[in-house]
């Protein structure tokens, strides 16, 4: 089921959480709503679910599969919603939690006891918790609770799955496992999924499409490759991973770009370079975009080597190298080097 939002705004006590947002979520895709906290991503998700109402506007419209659902309550929209802190019913067992959505159906739609039990156990197997059916939520680990919340949302057989910071409260290792598992589940069950996250790594890893939000607006929409390699603006580039920012002057007439040490007043653009797009040389090559720097700290523990350098104003520059490249260079602390960018982005100010 595709989901479309048109001209959607939301104001909380004078604070504009969403500002005239237009977006379409394609059927069958796993979309990440990515942005810093306060950017409006959770509000957007809750509006889709019907947990919030958008500001009154003649053109505003939320539709599922082309059908306007603006007047439908959260229960009527039949979406599976997974809450940030799970919101499990703490006085009910795992089984009761998952069965809840089936038990509250109207009598003529409600499955029989056996059917409910069968469906709950199918879901328990799906989330790999069949032996835990009799536990209370407080007797489960964070990752297990998250999976119960997911199974509970799936019990009503939604066509849309909405997840609010699904892995936010888990430790790094469980988070990694659970997000790959979620991706597989999504592929298995073919629904339209939207999840909110502030973790760009998570979004880049499992989403089909990423929607970047900032200050209540959408900055860019695209596949992980598109947004990572062709960030639409400086915010997107800065948000999607580490980046070195330099002042620069763009001379339109000469088609010339001048990297500058610091803002001397003549700069009119920012030059952004990712840490892995910088090369380190011992000698000056007299290239224009050459940055002199001094090695400050080297961190070799990890899959890549992270090198911290200081430019002439003692401002930090970050360079990422492979272990092999690093061995070739044999850098020492306080050593003087020159950095040349392989790839850079310029955003005028």
């Amino acid at each position: 089921m595709s989901i479309e939002l048109q001209h959607i705004s939301k104001t909380f006590n004078g604070f504009k959480a969403l500002d005239n947002v237009n977006i379409k979520f394609n059927e069958g895709e796993l979309t990440a709503l990515l942005g810093p906290s306060g950017s409006g991503k959770t509000t957007l998700l809750r509006l889709v679910a019907g947990l919030e109402e958008s500001d009154e506007h003649p053109d505003s419209r939320i539709s599922f599969h082309g059908e306007d659902v603006g007047s439908r309550s959260v229960g009527q929209r039949k979406v599976g919603f997974v809450f940030q802190h799970y919101a499990l019913f703490r006085h009910m067992t795992v089984f009761e939690n998952i069965a809840f959505g089936l038990r509250v159906k109207k009598r003529d739609e409600r499955p029989s006891k056996n059917e409910i039990s069968e469906r709950v156990f199918t879901l328990l197997k799906l989330v790999q918790l069949d032996s835990m059916y009799n536990r209370l939520p407080s007797q489960l680990s964070g990752g297990q609770r998250q999976r119960v919340a997911l199974a509970r949302a799936l019990a009503i057989q939604p066509k849309v799955l909405l997840l609010d910071e699904p892995f936010g409260a888990l430790d790094a290792k469980v988070r990694g496992e659970l997000r790959r598992w979620l991706r597989e589940l999504h592929d298995q069950l073919h629904f339209t999924s939207i999840f909110v996250t502030h973790d760009q790594e998570e979004a880049l890893e499992i989403a089909d499409r990423i929607v970047l939000t900032h200050d209540g607006r959408i900055e860019q929409t695209g596949t992980p490759e598109e947004v990572f390699h062709n960030p639409a603006n400086e915010f997107v580039m800065r948000f999607l991973g580490e980046v070195n920012v330099f002042h620069a002057r763009v001379d339109e007439t000469k088609h010339d770009i001048l990297p500058l040490r610091s803002g001397d007043g003549s700069d009119n653009a920012n030059l952004l370079i990712r840490p892995h797009d910088l090369d380190i040389h011992y000698e000056k090559w007299n290239k224009k975009a050459e940055i002199p720097a001094v090695v400050h700290r080297v961190q070799t523990a990890g899959p890549i080597v992270k090198i911290n350098l200081w430019d002439e104003q003692k401002k930090n520059i970050l360079v990422h190298l492979s272990h092999e490249e690093y061995r070739h260079l044999s850098l020492k602390r306080d050593q003087r080097v020159y950095l040349t960018p392989r790839k850079l982005k310029i955003y005028s100010r």
């Binding site: 959260v74 229960g75 979406v79 919603f81 499990l88 703490r90 959505g101 007797q139 019990a155």
Partner: protein, 280 residues
């Protein structure tokens, strides 16, 4: 770590610690246990037969009946009001919320006698509503309705105050989850909200009941002290005492004291349940 620290603190028995213990025990004995013992010894001083006669006296029986009647009316009503108020104030954020929470405490902060007077001024012979009440031949002051109204007012905060912090802390996540799973408002309340507050609710009801049966000041002002008609147990005890009928007064008092003891025991059980519940 914490346990270790605590045991270390306990391991240093100084004179100071012992003195605090003695003072606390002395205080409890003097102000709590001694009066309790006096009530029961005085009540049974002339034997159990006199005690029985005192409480089976028609006026005493009528006082017991009236006290029970008042509790039966006010406790369920205040359960409903308190629940509704706590739901609105605990689960929703709106302007004037903290003012309303303060307002709920009004019956606690006002003297019960003043509370009774308010009703006399409203519904008494020269009160604001007197003409209307006279026209419809309704008597409130010096009658059972007045006692019920005054007790309702006095006992209103118990359930609400118990539930507001509980409901605020629990938030609305679980309710939203229930709604998103297709439950309607009533199902959400019955299956999600209520089970999570039931011990707190029971606790509030017990306290509310104890006060409803024991309230003196406000009821005294509106009741008119008509024997066999508008006397509740506390008022009856006072009348007997003023007539120097000590053994009968203490017999009635022993009933109220017994009620207090039962309340404390039930309260302890409920509190225990509440705690284990939270731990799970």
């Amino acid at each position: 770590m914490k346990a270790k620290k605590r045991s270390q603190a306990l391991k240093t028995p100084t004179v100071f610690n012992i003195l605090i213990g003695v003072a606390a025990l002395g205080f409890i004995t003097l102000f709590l246990l001694l009066p309790l013992a006096i009530v029961f010894t005085e009540a049974f001083r002339q034997g159990i037969r006199v005690w029985w006669q005192s409480i089976s006296d028609p006026d005493a029986l009528s006082a017991i009946k009236l006290t029970l009647l008042v509790a039966v009316i006010t406790v369920p009503l205040n359960l409903l009001f308190g629940l509704a108020a706590a739901w609105a104030l605990g689960k929703f954020q709106f302007k004037g919320r903290s003012f309303l929470i303060t307002l709920i405490d009004l019956p606690f902060s006002i003297s019960p006698v003043i509370a009774g007077l308010i009703f006399v001024l409203l519904c008494g012979a020269n009160g604001w509503f007197a003409p209307w009440l006279d026209d419809h031949n309704i008597q409130i002051i010096f009658a059972v309705p007045g006692i019920v109204l005054a007790t309702l007012f006095i006992t209103f905060p118990f359930v609400a105050r118990e539930l507001i912090p509980l409901m605020t802390e629990q938030g609305t996540d679980a309710e939203q989850a229930a709604l998103s799973l297709g439950a309607n408002g009533w199902q959400t309340f019955r299956r999600i909200t209520l089970p999570n507050i039931k011990w707190g609710l029971l606790y509030g009801v017990i306290l509310c009941n104890a006060r409803a049966m024991g309230e003196f000041g406000a009821v005294s002002v509106v009741s008119g002290h008509i024997r066999g008609e508008t006397n509740t147990l506390p008022l009856h005890a006072e009348i007997l005492y003023n007539e120097y009928n000590f053994s009968a007064a203490f017999a009635v008092a022993s009933l109220l004291t017994f009620l207090a003891l039962v309340t404390i025991i039930v309260r302890a059980i409920v509190e225990g349940k509440n705690k284990t519940r939270e731990k799970v």
